[in-house]
Each structure stands twice: as structure tokens, then as C-alpha cells.
Symmetry: C2
Subunit: 342 residues, 2 copies
DNA sequence: AGGCGCGTTTATACCGGTTTAGTGGCTGCC
DNA sequence: GGCAGCCACTAAACCGGTATAAACGCGCCT
């Protein structure tokens, strides 16, 4: 019993052909008689041969892997509901193709450039996902300089050499605001994410515009950082305003759930005294008390679509079109209610 | 300007030596004059040469990467506070060594064996982390059959050919129970994780034993699944018991936070009517209302230690010792309080 | 019969490293 | 002076695939 795994040479000699023929058969290239192909594939099968990734990598200069760099503080990353599901979606298209996902976590303070450089120079991946897109994102230039194919999650402003996979945050935000307006709210505040991020400003802008369309102005916009701690602070500042808002729209669930806690801590009852809405529909949103009204995106689909698009780009079948995903949907729960005139 | 990156041959000719000499110099092997080594390294530096991972991989039959297979439903994974921090810790030891982390997410229903098989047969990784250890875990046999080095997170029962990195959950659980006992609670219930998992039973057993040491028996133990939805259900069942518990110890924060919501939904005030404690100290624990008493582990350190240990094993410097991490610490917040006699 | 063209297959270089056997020059010793 | 022994280094095989040019067999045409 040979312990070593079979190589292409073993298959070749078993099928009575040359290495080259086996390679041709495996890759389904024309120029071999069908009978020979069958014989080769049968031999490969009997030996349980699978081509060595490492050898193929060296030979064709591909990694057969995609990369994801997550730039985020571990503590913060901890409760981000987006990435795990996104990654699962990515995985679902990589696995059948025999590709792998290489993950790199860069702490917030560190040099994220180095992360991409490493991935590129080490030849670990054939392309990367560009998440948490920022305004004037320096990574776009970096990646085109490195010659590393990429797909952006959401569309950067300005021109980008990369295809984008887009999940528009605006309709969801608009739906939240309209929902609150229908409930009679007029003094609505917003707790935004860091304005450096494209998705954070998309949400704030949709918030402002939807109010404006109804002839209203936001009671206040607190810029925060998507963390629970940030959500608490922003909420506290909002609750002491002379014109206290009757509803707060948070840019994500974590801030919303923390804000919910802060409001209760301050002696308010949600939704009687204050309506609260989030964004993401994370697992806990449904189960906190009261259940959080929020907006449900589909990060799994997002991952699938991004992986598909990136692979298209890498396989180089011409220009790759942007992909637009169905926008996030409003999920109404108990944390928002009719305004009771107090 | 040559666009192509330099190879070892370029360095060799620039330094006026053979390829072999460059390889020797790079790997710090004896047999070269110091002057020659210096000259070679200088040449490499000037050319900006870095050895090709792919070529090295093929040549030395190593992947220079470690693997992590996460078997979990994407939705559930979404809010797991453990993995992101764990991964960040792993990354912190891999990055300086030029290793990569290959991630594989297997949905709960699917064949997890295939995940490990793929990683091993594709030669993607030099070793894997075995997380969410189960009783009689079949993956241990699978991996030793595949010949893939591994490190187990926590110690499997029975003999294991792999080193273990251990974070004992029992002291933390014991501390929670003792804390509740000191507060005067006598009717304490537990919401456990799936008994298939080693860490789930470790927590339940510590719960039972600590009560027993005080001459008490649990009012009830509800077996659940670590999810928020499961936490809700278990909590509902506990709250309708004739002998309603005055305190509930949950096996993780997600169930605890959901349980908190369920209790409030049922009209109870926490902690006046019911004390609640979790496990993990996830980000939201501090910020829900009332702040959740819980147990804080350090998944980042866990990741560091696991990566170190796995690398030791792979580098094959003899037998590798198990590593025991400092146990998780009790964090007291507002969700637990003195028992007010009702 | 010789030459042409076509479909099929092989031989071999190549990817970029590592590794081993081997070579040349120098010293030291008898 | 000749030879063993060591040091520093080189040449070439090797890892396991892919790619390309050349060779082969065969029928067909003239």
C-alpha cells in the first residue's frame, strides 16, 4: 500500500499515456480522443488522484484562493453580524470550485495596507473583497497598483477599476423613517456611523432626505462608531436635548440595542416614551425587549454575489458588470409605536 | 523596468553565485562564508526579492497556512462573539511568520468531514484548529487518519493524539453560582448548551457541583442550543414552573440576553424579580438593560495560544505540551441582585 | 508511390524554489 | 611532493503539475 498520494505520473502510466495527456484530459481540453479521455479519467478515479494544488499553483501562477481583509478592532468585530454570514455566502461558491478563503484580520490601529500587500506579494490569493468601503478609499489605488483583482462591496464614489456588488442601504433606511412618520413621529433623531464609511453616509443621507421629503428636519444627528459603547453615548446625548426626540433611528443594530438599554436605564419605556429602530436584523434584534424594529439585509447573498463576481473578474471573461442586490427590507417589531401625546 | 517580480535566479546572478547558494543564505544554513551571505542578502534586498510561496510550497510540501473549520449555521454564527476575537488572536501570530489563515464555514446540516478532507487533500493547510469540541468527537479520528496536525480547543475526554489548549470554563461558572448564593438565591436554574459539546457540559456540571457543594439542587436545567431563540424558549419554560427560579444561569450571553428579554416580556423586572447571568461577556452584555452579569474569557489569547501550539506541533520539535489559559473571570453587573423576599 | 493534412499523442521545457551529490582549491601533514 | 581532508560553492535533480512544439500514424489525393 503506497502511502504517498498518487501523482499525475502514476495516472499516466496506469492509463498508458503521457503526463501531458492526463493534464489535457483533466482540464477538458480538445485534442484527445474521447476513448482516451475516458480511460484516463477512469485511471485517475481508480487511483483516487486529485491534482496537487501546490503544483498547479506554481505552474499556472494562480492561488485558487480569494482573500478578505477585515480591518477592525477584535472587540468590535466580535459582535459584527455581517461578516460571518457574508463569509458563509462566499464559501458556498468557493467550495464547489475547490477554492479557499484566506482571511486576514487587521486591528484597527495597524497598517491595513500591509495586509493587502502581504496577500498580494505572497501570491496567496487571486483577488480580494473590499469591504467597509470608505470615501476616497485609498485601497482602490493600492490594489490597482498591486495588480490584484478586487470587488467592492457597494459602489465607491468616483471611478473605480473594479466591479461593485451593491446592496443599497437607502431604501431600507427610507422605509424605517417613513414607518416612523406614519406612526405620527415628527421629532426623529439619527445615530450615524463614522462618516468615513460609504454605507454610513448612505444611511444618514437617506435619513435626512426622507425627512426632508416630508417637510421635516432631523431633531439631531449624532455621529457615532457602530459600537454598542458608542450607541450608549450618542443616546445619552440625545435624551438630554431640550427637544427630546420621540424616535431614534440607529445606523446599526448594535448601537440600537445599546441605545435601547440606555433609554431604559434612563427610566424611559420603549416604545411608549421613545421609539427605536436599528439596521441589520441581527440575531438578538428579535429577542431583546421590546423586539427591535430594524432593516433586514441578506449578507449571505451578498457573499455569494461578491464571490461570483470576483471569480468572473479573475477568470477574465471580459468586463464584469456590477451586481445590484435586492435592497434591505423593513422588519417591524415592538420597539416602534404610535406616538402617544405626552 | 522589469515588471515581473525577481526570482531566485535574478538574485543569484546579481550576487554572482548559484541559486543554491541564495537558498542557503536565505534559510540561514551553514556552509557559506559570512561575506557571501552578506552579499547575497544585499542583492536580494536591492532587488526587493521575496521567495515565492508557491514554489516553496511545492518544493517543501508545506502550505504555510493553518486552517479553521467552523461548523455552524450562518445565522447562528452571526452573533457568536468567540470566533472573530479568536481569529484575531490567531492572526497575530501567523502574520509575522508569513502564514495565512484559511477559513472554512460549513453549514450545520452539511458534511463537516468533507470540510476537513478538502483542506487536507488540497494541501491547503499544515494543520487545523479543532473548535467546538464534542464528546467522542469523530473529528479526532478523522484528522489522525488524514495525518493532519491539529490542536484541540479544550481537552477532549479520552486520549487524543493532539495537544490541547485549555480554557477551563468551570471556575467561571462556579464563580457565578457562588455569587448568586451569596446574594441569597436558593432556587437557581440553568439553561445549558447542547450536551454534545464539551464546553456545554463542563458548564452544566460546574453549575450542578457548585450547588451541590452548598447542599442545594438545581431547580431545573433546561437544555438549549446557545442561540437566542433557544434561550427564549428555555426561559419561557422556566418561568412557568410552579417553583419559579429566582435566578437563571445561562451557558452563554446570547441565551442570557434573549432570556432577559423574555423575562421582561413576561412582566418580570430584572433583577428584582429574577436574577440573570450569562457567559462570554460579549459586547452587548455591558449595554443591555440591566447590564448583564457574566463571565469574561479571553478568546484573543486563546487564539494566540492555539496558533503557537499548533505551529510548535507542525515544526515538529518533539512532543508539544498542553497549554492552560487563565480561567474566565466573573463580571458582576446589574442583572443579579439580592433576593428580595416576595 | 510520394506527399499532404489532420487528428492524436508524446517529449520536454518551464514555474521558482530546495536539496543532494559532487567539484575545485586550499591547507596541513608525513 | 603527494595525498587526505575540509571548506565554500556549484550543478543538477526534484517537487507535480501545465504548455508548446514536434512527432507520429493514417487516410487521401494526385
Amino acid at each position: 500500500m503506497s502511502k504517498a498520494r498518487p501523482t499525475i505520473a502514476d495516472v499516466a502510466s496506469r492509463a498508458g499515456v503521457s503526463k501531458g495527456a492526463v493534464s489535457f484530459a483533466l482540464n477538458g481540453r480538445p485534442g484527445l480522443a474521447q476513448a482516451t479521455v475516458d480511460r484516463i479519467l477512469a485511471a485517475a478515479d481508480e487511483l483516487g488522484w486529485r491534482p496537487s494544488n501546490r503544483a498547479r499553483s506554481l505552474s499556472v501562477s494562480k492561488a485558487f484562493a480569494l482573500g478578505l481583509v477585515i480591518t477592525r478592532d477584535p472587540a468590535v468585530l466580535s459582535s459584527d453580524p455581517f461578516f460571518p454570514a457574508f463569509i458563509a455566502g462566499v464559501e458556498s461558491v468557493l467550495a464547489p470550485r475547490g477554492q479557499a478563503l484566506v482571511l486576514q484580520v487587521v486591528s484597527a490601529g495597524e497598517d491595513e495596507e500591509a495586509g493587502y500587500r502581504r496577500l498580494a506579494q505572497d501570491g496567496r490569493v487571486d483577488g480580494v473583497f473590499l469591504s467597509d468601503l470608505r470615501h476616497e478609499d485609498p485601497r482602490i489605488d493600492l490594489l490597482s497598483e498591486l495588480g490584484l483583482p478586487a470587488v467592492t462591496l457597494n459602489r465607491p464614489e468616483g471611478t473605480s477599476p473594479f466591479p461593485a456588488v451593491i446592496l443599497d442601504d437607502r431604501p431600507g433606511t427610507r422605509a424605517v423613517v417613513e414607518h416612523l412618520l406614519e406612526l405620527g413621529h415628527r421629532r426623529i433623531a439619527h445615530v450615524a456611523g463614522p462618516p468615513a464609511f460609504v454605507h454610513a453616509t448612505a444611511r444618514s443621507e437617506a435619513f435626512v432626505q426622507t425627512l426632508a421629503a416630508a417637510g421635516l428636519e432631523p431633531v439631531a444627528i449624532e455621529v457615532s462608531d457602530f459600537t454598542a459603547a458608542g450607541g450608549i453615548e450618542a443616546t445619552k446625548r440625545l435624551l438630554v436635548l431640550p427637544q427630546r426626540p420621540t424616535a431614534i433611528v440607529y445606523a446599526n443594530d448594535r448601537m440600537a440595542i445599546a441605545g435601547l438599554g440606555a433609554a431604559q436605564q434612563a427610566g424611559l419605556t420603549v416604545p411608549d416614551d421613545l421609539s427605536v429602530a436599528g439596521f441589520d436584523d441581527s440575531e438578538l434584534a428579535e429577542f431583546v425587549h421590546p423586539g427591535l424594529t430594524t432593516v433586514r439585509a441578506d449578507p449571505y447573498r451578498f457573499g455569494e454575489a461578491a464571490a461570483h463576481t470576483l471569480n468572473q473578474l479573475i477568470d477574465g471573461s471580459g468586463d464584469v458588470a456590477d451586481v445590484e442586490l435586492p435592497p434591505a427590507q423593513l422588519v417591524v417589531r415592538r420597539s416602534t409605536a404610535h406616538l402617544e401625546e405626552s
